[in-house]
Subunit: 136 residues, 2 copies
DNA sequence: TTCTTTTCTGCAACAGTGTTGCATAAGTAT
DNA sequence: ATACTTATGCAACACTGTTGCAGAAAAGAA
């Protein structure tokens, strides 16, 4: 859990508590989920913490149509091994949205290559919708 | 432009003006763009019109990380021909975001098939980021 | 056309989400 | 321990989107 040192951001009690929420949840979480996990806290500080975490590459934002926004740990904060491209944050996973339980799951899976004539494609994001293993 | 009849929603002067904004723009537009195109207008009515258009399958919403939200005409409102699956709205195109001009372009392109073991995938969305032909 | 019904519009008020400025508190390096 | 830097918590605010309701407009029928 030396995330703070690795990412070169200050370790504070508040940030540790927020980070723990991510470690305690298997899948992506909403800000509302974080808030209820934290108990009494300052909203503004939370928003700033989230921004700090995103900028540092600790977490990433997942948005879906219909104002569904969640946050999830970046891969290199889960498995501490591949610390190579932690600045070029192009996640090698699919964001899966389960229509049943409404969870968003980062599924490790190689992304397909998309060739668009005339375009320079730097990276792609894939969002899949359906039913997760637990709900099938 | 018999969109109103096709989609079974009432034709009003306001809705026609909003629809024209979409027809006058090649790519996806933000709500702010619509508002400035309209001139003086009622914000609430605009939001309700957008909701009506989305529900009727006239336009679709495109969201990208970083609070970037845009709206675009659905395919079957552009080319009037294929009126088949206008209820199952799984757009057969990639949403391309140009990092230079910040435009979002719906690129006609078959979506790849994604196989996720254990998951039932109903449909996927693909967002590509890079540089569009005009900015290359 | 004119009437009737249904839906839309525009206003007011409000709810949710996220930001900025600033003084104080806490973290980090020497 | 000290000095320096950054984070926190508060207040106030900005932006985005929603709800309720009365009056206006659209669509269908007589």
């Amino acid at each position: 859990m030396a995330v703070f040192k690795e990412k070169n951001i200050r370790k504070t009690a508040f940030r540790q508590k927020v980070l723990d929420v991510f470690y305690n949840n298997e899948n992506a979480v909403t800000i509302a989920q974080i808030e209820s996990s934290l108990g009494s806290h300052d909203r503004i500080t939370l928003y700033r913490t989230i921004r700090t975490f995103i900028d540092a590459g600790v977490i990433h934002e997942i948005v879906m149509p219909g104002d569904l926004k969640k946050l999830a740990l970046c891969n290199d904060c889960l498995n501490k091994h591949d610390d190579e491209h932690h600045h070029t944050h192009h996640h090698k996973h699919v964001h899966f949205h389960c229509e049943m339980c409404d969870e968003i799951i980062c599924v490790d899976n190689d992304l397909p290559h998309i060739n668009l004539a005339g375009y320079r494609v730097d990276y792609i994001e894939v969002q899949a919708h359906g039913v997760c293993p637990r709900c099938i």
